[in-house]
């Protein structure tokens, strides 16, 4: 019953969306190369996965996202912690962080492609850069808001610096940190696609360009968009599940 109550609205919303899409196609009488009907996209999606066109591109993009996220989030945890606990680090680093964040990644991507070529490294870097800021800021805010009483408790129990970090500060800041990661992981998807557009020979971003250009297969383009969206939603849910498991029981 509870499962029904949570899934029912999702199913209904999806059905309404698909019906609306179909209605627009029918009323507007759009040709498939402008707006393919949902069932056309659905069929193309299934075919792209079964004939193996989609798989290598999806694997490439997913690896870029996961590696970039891992690298960006790990560095962000470290820097975020430093920013929270060291005035000097904050003064030295924060201007650069804000400047880096204010520079659109779209403008940086061609430069990174130029430097790192069309392989994996450039995309991982772009994903890492885009993930870094939200995770670093949420880590900083989370660590700063750790109850001073807990730190004094750690002091009274003669916890080592490392024990304070791993057993008190990070667990206490985890809700904020995971919140930042939720934002970060969806941004990583954007980063991978942007990176592939700026220069790449494989990946879902490349496939979109191919489908729009030389293949002129607009249903495939939509099927690729659907794949990208699914990856984003899945990763977001994965972080959410981790969050529920680690943080949910606190209330």
């Amino acid at each position: 019953m509870r499962a029904f109550r949570t899934t029912a609205p999702i199913v209904v919303a999806a059905a309404v969306f698909l019906a609306f899409w179909k209605l627009v196609v029918m009323v507007g009488d759009y040709p498939p190369f402008i707006l393919p009907a949902p069932e056309v996209v659905g069929a193309r999606f299934v075919r792209a996965w079964t004939d193996g066109v989609m798989t290598p591109h999806a694997v490439t993009t997913l690896s870029e996202i996961l590696l970039g996220f891992a690298a960006g989030a790990s560095l962000a945890l470290l820097i975020g912690y430093l920013l929270a606990r060291s005035r000097l680090a904050e003064r030295l680093l924060s201007p650069y962080l804000v400047a880096a964040q204010a520079t659109p990644i779209l403008a940086l991507a061609p430069l990174i492609a130029l430097w790192f070529g069309s392989g994996l490294a450039g995309k991982v870097l772009i994903c890492a850069l885009i993930v870094f800021f939200p995770v670093a800021v949420s880590t900083m805010v989370g660590i700063r808001s750790v109850d001073r009483g807990l730190l004094e408790l750690g002091q009274s129990l003669r916890a080592t610096r490392w024990q304070v970090v791993t057993k008190l500060e990070v667990p206490a800041a985890l809700p904020q940190i995971l919140g930042g990661m939720r934002v970060g992981v969806t941004l990583a998807v954007v980063g991978a696609i942007v990176g592939e557009w700026a220069g790449g020979d494989q990946g879902l971003g490349v496939l979109i360009n191919l489908a729009r250009g030389s293949l002129f297969d607009i249903p495939l383009m939509f099927a690729t968009l659907l794949t990208i969206a699914l990856i984003g939603v899945t990763l977001y849910l994965a972080v959410l599940i981790v969050e529920r498991r680690l943080v949910g029981a606190r209330a």
Binding site: Q155, S156, L157, K167, P171, A249, R250
Partner: protein, 263 residues
């Protein structure tokens, strides 16, 4: 309990002064405090707000260092957070992401005691504070009184010779507080721990303590050391009302003059 010499867990405070910088102005929180707490006795520290009671307690526990003067437990000076001391703070300070057993076992975990042994000892300790069966509960599922019992269990789990309590039950309702006071006495009778308790409640101080130290407000000086001549074991019903109220009256008088003496 930590046995051996009968003065091993006695506390000696000698001419201890500590000040803080508040807006670059030095503020003397504790000035020239000197007293002894014999091993196995209970001393209550009372004083108006801002009299440096909590500072004094933190100095004894080694969480703060004195600017001058000396604090010893037994014959060894207190230098930094002291493993011979367990502290109960005003708030329970339980980790919300851990269950009760994980919270109570935390001091042992930080001291690298293996999981099985530390959970056994934590479970024993939970039994002593009347929380058996709540091992797996989360702090948010407990009442305020139960949370503070868990905090007491955590403070005692390493079997410290000295227990410091900083207004431990002040956030609880009167009935719960009275019950926890009584349970604290029963625990103390069993373990013989030396106890220093900060409170602003005169009745609580007199009920629990062998002696009540009265601090003046800023700077905190020990203005009186009132002995409480009530037989033990104590409980509320069988108490000598006359002795109780005369001790309480003495504490109150010193509190009032101490507050007046302040600028």
């Amino acid at each position: 309990m930590a046995g051996g010499s009968s003065t091993l867990n006695a506390i000696h405070v000698r001419e201890v002064t500590r000040s803080f910088l508040i807006d670059r102005q030095p503020l003397v929180a504790v000035e020239g405090a000197s007293f002894d707490v014999p091993q196995g006795s209970i001393v209550a520290i009372v004083g108006p707000n801002g009299s440096g009671k909590s500072t004094l307690l933190r100095l004894i526990g080694g969480l703060l260092q004195p600017d001058s003067g000396e604090i010893r437990i037994g014959d060894r000076p207190v230098e930094g957070a002291d493993p011979r001391v367990g502290i109960v703070f005003q708030e329970p300070r339980l980790l919300p992401w851990r269950d009760v057993i994980g919270n109570v076992a935390l001091p042992l975990e930080l001291a690298d005691v293996p999981r099985k042994r530390r959970e056994e000892r934590a479970r024993d300790q939970l039994g002593l504070v009347g929380l058996s069966g709540f091992d797996g509960a989360r702090p948010h599922q407990l009442s305020g009184g139960m949370r503070q019992r868990a905090a007491v269990a955590r403070a005692l789990v390493r079997e410290p010779g000295v227990l410091l309590l900083d207004e431990p039950f002040s956030a609880l309702d009167a009935l719960t507080r009275e019950r926890l006071d009584l349970e604290l006495l029963r625990l103390w009778e069993r373990t013989g721990t030396t106890i220093v308790l900060v409170t602003h409640d005169i009745a609580e101080a007199v009920f629990l303590a062998d002696r009540v130290l009265v601090l003046s407000s800023r700077p905190g000086r020990v203005v009186a050391d009132v002995p409480v001549e009530l037989p033990r074991p104590r409980d509320r019903s069988g108490m000598d009302a006359a002795a109780f109220s005369s001790a309480a009256a003495a504490v109150r008088e010193h509190l009032e003059t101490g507050a007046e003496a302040a600028p």
